[in-house]
């Protein structure tokens, strides 16, 4: 599928007319929050949760420990816009202009070829959702979260915003107030999905905010792989993405969450992703961050069950004007837990990539094992990389390994590849793709090819 996918140009420069924006407005107040909730026909508890989140949002200060967010004008963001009246189950029922956007992104084709199910969100609401019949029969639920909240309240309510409470930080609170759309994925006990599920999030209009909420419950012994892709066209006006992801991985279950985020370079991507991992369960995060002016994203695994494990694999590409402030957070809260963090960053043309990590070993979590490896590749002298790893170790039996490297493309490596007949930029792209191979090899082939291609596009004109 990836060979048919857009280049960056079409992904970022093409956008549809957005007449539906006439009915939406900028800025946020209680009235808008009540409007969102009533539009969705939400139960009272869901509205209460939104209002509580809004109060916390108003009380909380902007985070000051990370990149400077002073240019983000929260008053100018459109917090809710509905581009389509309903969510469709076949692509034929999706409005033509929206469908053509997703066709350019290769989504319907990928669904036919490699995916177990697909969801697609456009602005604030999900416009398409489908799951293959054989998985429906097994009791798998893959649904728009707005709908799931009404259809399966007994499954949603006990988990929703529990792992990511609104008082976590200002943007978690904002998310809790205005969240809309997103995915609900439920894998029943023992069910193992062989094909990945995918959701694609697209912001189309100028100055949008997107606040999808993804809630995933993997019951005991179950297995699944979920992939998210994201993009938005570029307007030169700031937009905001503050998504929320909550994942519950029960005893002996295995789950992989992959995402390739390529928001336009005028998007603030302030995202929260958290997983709780129970006994002998395994959680994997695989992430690629390419777009956005400022990204703040630190997927978190909380290992609460004995023998729980987590792998965090991440790649960030910081090009001109971009700050990729990404990393990982792992809390070891049970015995014999282990985690591995591998983060790679590439900085170019003055871009800044920073690894910010926290590993905490609780006092009772004996025999924990932690391995952290951060590698930064700088493509020129103007670009910046840094690592800020924090370790809080409260149990002396923990085994900790930490390694960080930073460097440039080796001139001898370039000469070697060029001497074989490759142009300088081809050779550099090969070296960079080799550098990120530990991450791309974990993705399904179509996505790893796509990620390599995104790197090649970002690499254009970087040398010689």
């Amino acid at each position: 599928m990836s060979r048919d996918i857009q280049t960056h140009d079409s992904m970022w420069n093409q956008y549809n007319q957005s007449d539906y924006m006439k009915n939406s407005r900028q800025g946020l107040d209680e009235e808008l929050i009540r409007f969102i909730s009533s539009e969705k026909g939400e139960p009272e508890w869901a509205l209460e949760k939104r209002l509580e989140s809004f109060r916390i949002y108003q009380a909380k200060a902007m985070p000051t420990w990370g990149p400077n967010l002073k240019d983000l004008n929260l008053e100018a963001i459109t917090y809710y816009a509905r581009a389509s009246e309903q969510s469709a189950e076949t692509w034929d029922d999706v409005p033509a202009d929206i469908k053509s956007t997703f066709e350019r992104l290769g989504i319907p084709k990928a669904e036919q070829e490699v995916l177990a199910g697909v969801g697609a969100q456009y602005e604030s609401t999900v416009i398409y959702h489908s799951l293959k019949k054989q998985y429906k029969k097994l009791g798998v639920i893959f649904e728009d979260l707005d709908l799931a909240l009404q259809k399966y309240p007994e499954l949603v309510k006990p988990y929703f915003m529990k792992l990511m409470p609104p008082d976590l930080h200002k943007f978690a609170a904002l998310h809790g107030a205005v969240w809309s759309g997103g995915t609900f994925l439920y894998i029943p006990k023992g069910v193992k999905l062989k094909e990945p599920l995918q959701a694609y999030f697209r912001m189309n209009a100028k100055g949008m905010g997107q606040f999808e909420h993804t809630l995933i419950i993997i019951e005991a012994g179950a297995e699944a792989h979920y992939i998210e892709g994201c993009s938005a066209p570029s307007y030169g006006v700031d937009s905001l993405h503050a998504g929320g992801v909550e994942i519950y991985v029960k005893d002996e279950a295995r789950f992989r969450y992959s995402s390739v985020e390529s928001w336009s370079k005028d998007t603030y991507n302030l995202n929260t992703k958290r997983a709780v991992v129970e006994k002998n369960a395994h959680m994997e995060w695989v992430g690629g961050n390419f777009g956005s002016c400022i990204t703040m994203l630190y997927p978190c695994s909380i290992l609460v069950g004995e023998g729980a494990t987590a792998d965090h694999l991440g790649l960030a590409f910081a090009n001109k004007g971009q700050i990729q402030d990404t990393g990982a957070k792992v809390i070891h809260a049970a015995k014999n837990t282990s985690s591995s963090i591998i983060m790679k960053s590439i900085s170019k043309n003055g871009g800044k990539a920073l690894y910010r990590g926290l590993v905490e070993i609780k006092a009772g979590a004996s025999n924990a094992a932690v391995s952290v490896k951060c590698d930064a590749l700088l493509l020129d002298d103007k670009s910046v990389s840094d690592t800020l790893p924090v370790m809080k170790i409260n149990n002396h039996t923990a085994e900790i390994a930490h390694e960080a490297t930073a460097g440039k493309i080796n001139a001898e490596d370039l000469f070697y590849l060029q001497s074989r007949g490759l142009k300088e930029d081809e050779a550099a792209a090969m070296i960079v793709n080799g550098f990120i191979e530990p991450i791309t090899k974990e993705l399904p082939l179509e996505y790893s090819v796509e990620m390599n291609r995104m790197v090649e596009l970002e690499m254009e004109g970087s040398v010689g």
Partner: protein
């Protein structure tokens, strides 16, 4: 017919003059060996012929197939038919050999104005060359020279020599790091190359590889200069007497 003419070549690395007025010719189909003590400029010459960006050519010419290539990039020289087998081939982490080798043949075909080979035709040719070099088939799943032994790295270079089909090969100490068996495999690969009327310039310290190269002439370098030239017998004399004579120059 001359394939390579080096005329009055002067090269600097930083402020230091490291090749001083080098001139020699090679005819098509000939094999020439360059010998000399460490630091004499042999490897520098090999790298300069390939277009290494760290060296500045301050004067002189390198004429390859009647064309001055001084201002050509390494990939342009490769397209013209020059190949450098590195003394220490680079390890490129994460880059798998098969897609790398195939991309290289595609690039070379494009730049040489030839029809690109299909991946199937390439695979047949690759398997054939792997077998000739006594390399196992799963080799091409490995990453480029990553964790290769010294001998494996040299075989990897000779594999690429065969696949890339240059007219002129520069061997920079192709025999170093080879055990007896690997030396025989490497030597046979060199012989196969020679039989196609190809041209060789080999930098070496040792006599043992010369029986495969069968040089038509020998150049001796010391301190960035050519200090002696002669026939194959000069190599034997050097191995017997060493380079002490030239060290005093």
């Amino acid at each position: 017919m001359k394939i390579l003419e080096v005329k009055n070549l002067k090269v600097k690395a930083g402020e230091k003059l490291i090749l001083n007025d080098i001139s020699f010719d090679i005819n098509r189909g000939e094999s020439v060996v360059i010998m000399g003590p460490n630091g004499s400029g042999k490897s520098t010459l090999a790298n300069v012929l390939m277009g290494h960006p760290s060296y500045q050519v301050i004067s002189g010419e390198i004429i390859f197939k009647n064309k001055n290539i001084i201002n050509l990039k390494p990939e342009e020289r490769a397209a013209l038919g020059i190949f450098l087998a590195f003394q220490e081939p680079r390890e490129i982490t994460g880059l798998e050999l098969f897609p790398f080798l195939f991309d290289v043949t595609k690039s070379l075909a494009r730049n040489r104005g030839q029809k690109p080979e299909s991946v199937f035709a390439f695979k047949v040719r690759l398997d054939d060359e792997l077998e000739k070099l006594n390399i196992s088939e799963d080799w091409s799943d490995r990453q480029v020279n990553q964790d290769f032994s010294g001998g494996e790295k040299k075989k990897s270079e000779l594999l690429q020599l065969a696949l890339n089909n240059p007219d002129f090969a520069i061997f920079d100490e192709i025999d170093s790091g080879l055990d007896v068996d690997a030396l025989a495999d490497a030597g046979e690969a060199i012989q196969r190359f020679k039989k196609q009327n190809k041209t060789i310039l080999a930098v070496t310290h040792y006599q043992r590889v010369l029986k495969y190269i069968e040089p038509d002439s020998v150049i001796v370098m010391a301190k960035g200069k050519i200090v002696s030239q002669g026939g194959a017998e000069l190599a034997a004399q050097l191995e017997r007497d060493g380079f002490s004579l030239y060290n005093e120059l």
